[in-house]
Symmetry: C2
């Protein structure tokens, strides 16, 4: 395995666990078993490493996700909101075939990218992968045409919050579920539990 990949893999693990600010390059290069200077040599800076890490996942995720969203949009039949949200499950879970714990690592990274580092990553993502957002909005619009684009804007942000927050604390949640309810849960279980919730939230009656 080449140095670049070794760094990315180690960074993924640590960043997902402890956030971007909470992880040092020395920890990363130590676990990756490469020289400290290798990060700056191969990626330029810590910031660029973070971007490269997200790119590795988003380039994998975006095409299949956008394709399935576009399919639903072009289809004559009107989808349910549950169907729209379920489109995310398979692409997300397929990340597990890429790398061990790929799904949860990616989702946790996504979570950190919204709270760490004053949102520079959020900007990077939304400006580099606009297809996901626009097609997602269109699909929701089709499933619930009475929703104004303002309402959709808000509800999709709430949904993002639900997903991102849940995923950045997945480990804790799975732990609690194991202790308090004697349930052995996986990331897939958590994802499937979210769908009815967010579908109902986005599908809430239009107020007033």
């Amino acid at each position: 395995m080449d140095t670049k990949t070794k760094i990315l893999n180690a960074a993924e693990l640590l960043f997902a666990d402890k956030g971007f600010t909470g992880t040092s390059l020395r920890e990363i290069t130590s676990i990756a078993e490469v020289n400290l200077a290798a990060v700056n040599y191969h990626f330029g800076s810590k910031k660029e490493l973070i971007k490269a890490l997200m790119k590795r996942y988003l380039d994998e995720l975006s095409p299949s996700l956008v394709a399935s969203l576009e399919a639903v949009i072009k289809e004559p039949k009107q989808p349910t909101l549950e169907e729209v949200f379920t489109l995310f499950v398979e692409p997300l879970l397929s990340l597990n075939k890429l790398r061990e714990n790929g799904t949860s690592n990616f989702l946790q990274l996504l979570g950190h990218s919204y709270t760490d580092s004053q949102g520079f990553l959020r900007w990077y993502i939304t400006s580099n992968y606009p297809g996901i957002i626009s097609n997602f909005t269109a699909a929701v619009q089709k499933a619930y045409p009475e929703l104004s684009s303002e309402e959709i804007f808000w509800r999709l942000h709430f949904t993002m919050g639900t997903a991102v927050f849940t995923m950045s604390s997945t480990e804790a949640l799975i732990d609690i579920a194991s202790n308090d309810f004697n349930l052995q849960l996986s990331v897939a279980d958590v994802i499937k539990r979210i769908i009815p919730y967010v579908a109902a939230g986005v599908g809430a009656p239009i107020p007033r």
Copy 2:
């Protein structure tokens, strides 16, 4: 104003904006216009400062919140979920009378406490203010008795995620709403928009 309060106020501002890890004691004491050593003299450490900061809000919030939740629980009539969630609005907004931007600052702090600093604050909160959680759970149980305690556990966590995430990006959201939809929104508006969403999410039909 005494030094302790000056520190707390400055810390609140900076922590809410940039997180606990992302804010240094030097920034805090500089904005508070006190000596660097004052934090360690008055609070002992950065960690204790963070706890004191959350305590200032939670001690203000907890009594009225717990009281109104208990009132709903003891009442003979069954509440709607919207009614239960609306109980949070007034206590939260009353924080604005305490300090400018009190509501959004507190909610952003809450958000950071779930992602920063490997969750030591989450532990502190849940173990020092258990009344909020248990009464909230009971109120939801009463509004939707068919929900198992497992389902409530999950859905309340999703709800927490929605609220916390939304609030940690309130500024950005208000900005976007102003640019894209020409809407001038306040924190109160955002809170009120969340309620139908989370009420519908928690009230979603029980799957399978």
